[in-house]
Amino acid sequence: MITLKLFASLAETHGWRERERTWVAGTRVIDLWCAETGQSGLPARVLCARNMDYCPPETPVFPGDEIAFFPPVTGGSHAR
């Protein structure tokens, strides 16, 4: 199985935060995004992580992986 997660505005836009999918050999992170959202590519302002590390969209996925998609981070205070 693969765990998929969305955060922040992506979770609101797509209406879900977490789901599980069966692993398919040869799947990359970008493929999961396209399959779940119906989009043809990863928008520039969507980041992805595999097992809690940032990763490029072309990263291959393996059974048991946790794959997350989220917008650019905005931690800290507003103070620039």
Binding site: M52, Y54, V73, G76, S77, H78, A79
Partner: protein, 151 residues
């Protein structure tokens, strides 16, 4: 080198004092302490902000904060670091983030504190949603592409 993500308000200076006492006691081992506190402002981009909600990625957030502190400790001679970050519903005037660095050296304390704060802003997965009089809005970051993983 603790990092902590908190859903409840915290008093940053009480945290600094108590952590320092717990780690160093009354000893004069460190000479320099640099502290940064980010506080929620009631104004952002010209709008009055009534509050905000901070979301995070449990597990990944803590891990990246730990990596950021470990990286700084490898780069400067630090004796201890402390990072506390709020999540959940936050009101203006409340502390959002606390970064503390203890070192024997002034320059190391200043530089590491600033570097940890900059790395936190660009790498740690937190997302802000502001509550305005007219509704809510997500604060958009400036980051394009994915940050290089440090782990």
């Amino acid at each position: 080198m603790p990092v902590s993500v908190r859903a409840a308000p915290f008093e940053p200076y009480a945290e600094v004092a108590s952590h320092q006492h717990a780690v160093f006691g009354a000893s004069g081992q460190f000479g320099a302490t640099a502290v940064f506190v980010g506080t929620m402002r009631d104004f952002n981009e010209g709008d009055s902000v009534q509050g905000m909600t901070l979301e995070h990625y449990p597990g990944m957030t803590e891990r990246h904060l730990e990596t950021i502190c470990a990286t700084a400790s490898g780069q400067w001679p630090l004796l201890e670091t402390l990072v506390i970050h709020r999540v959940g519903d936050i009101s203006p005037g409340e502390a959002i983030v606390l970064v503390v660095v203890w070192s024997a050296h002034r320059q190391a304390a200043f530089e590491a504190c600033r570097e940890i704060m900059e790395a936190l802003k660009s790498q740690a997965p937190f997302w802000k949603k502001e509550r305005l009089a007219t509704g809510t809005r997500w604060v958009t970051g400036n980051t394009a592409g994915y940050p290089a993983s440090k782990s």
